[in-house]
Symmetry: C2
Subunit: 140 residues, 2 copies
Amino acid sequence: MTGRPKIDGVLETCLYCDDVPATRAFYERVFGFTAMVAEDRIVAMDAGKGHVLILFRRGGTTAPVPVGGSSIPPHDGAGPQHFAFAIPAAAYGDWKRHLEDEGVAVESEVDWPSGGRSLYFRDPEGHLGELATPGIWSNY
Amino acid sequence: MTGRPKIDGVLETCLYCDDVPATRAFYERVFGFTAMVAEDRIVAMDAGKGHVLILFRRGGTTAPVPVGGSSIPPHDGAGPQHFAFAIPAAAYGDWKRHLEDEGVAVESEVDWPSGGRSLYFRDPEGHLGELATPGIWSNY
């Protein structure tokens, strides 16, 4: 273990999308996220300090992307991915009502044996989002 | 904007894998993450307080998963995904050496016009990981 440098957590979480503008509009409207970078290939949304939710156009990054004298290596993804946002326990009911008010169906609710609760929803691309209160993991 | 409840950032970032045990071993060895839950379908790794990196077996969650009296809705993913971990600026050189010492190729390095630097690597599944120092985003 000696010599391993420090990680400050996960910075970027990426979803691959067929319709990035529609997906961006969904996260702006429902979650209030704002775009820090918005291009045809990528929309990077501010999901809280040190948390970036990136929407990539599917098939848009299958070749290296030049940056300065270097490049971003290729990547791509398919299928309905899963991710979760953290919410305060006291906000659970407010989030459920907010999703319903926005016309976003609550696909499931789970009371975890370890404690904590989760609400599940779909974004316009079919990705499975979760809103989870503290207690569902030993580090949260 | 009134009425929208609070988000405390991204909690879970998920990678879909053909060989979950090998991928788990990679993140344990290279990053020192520990598994909080380890099943055939899912390995959930502690990537720092409030940060969970989940390795899902591809095709393992295409039907609802019962939990208590409810269920986790289905999801799945394919392709070489991208994600990024946050690292302190002072740890950049140490991380580069650590990856090399572990036999993990540095596929690219980027000096961002806005400030900050990134190191790119591949995990055993071909997912494109990034180690990024502060300054690369307006919220980081």
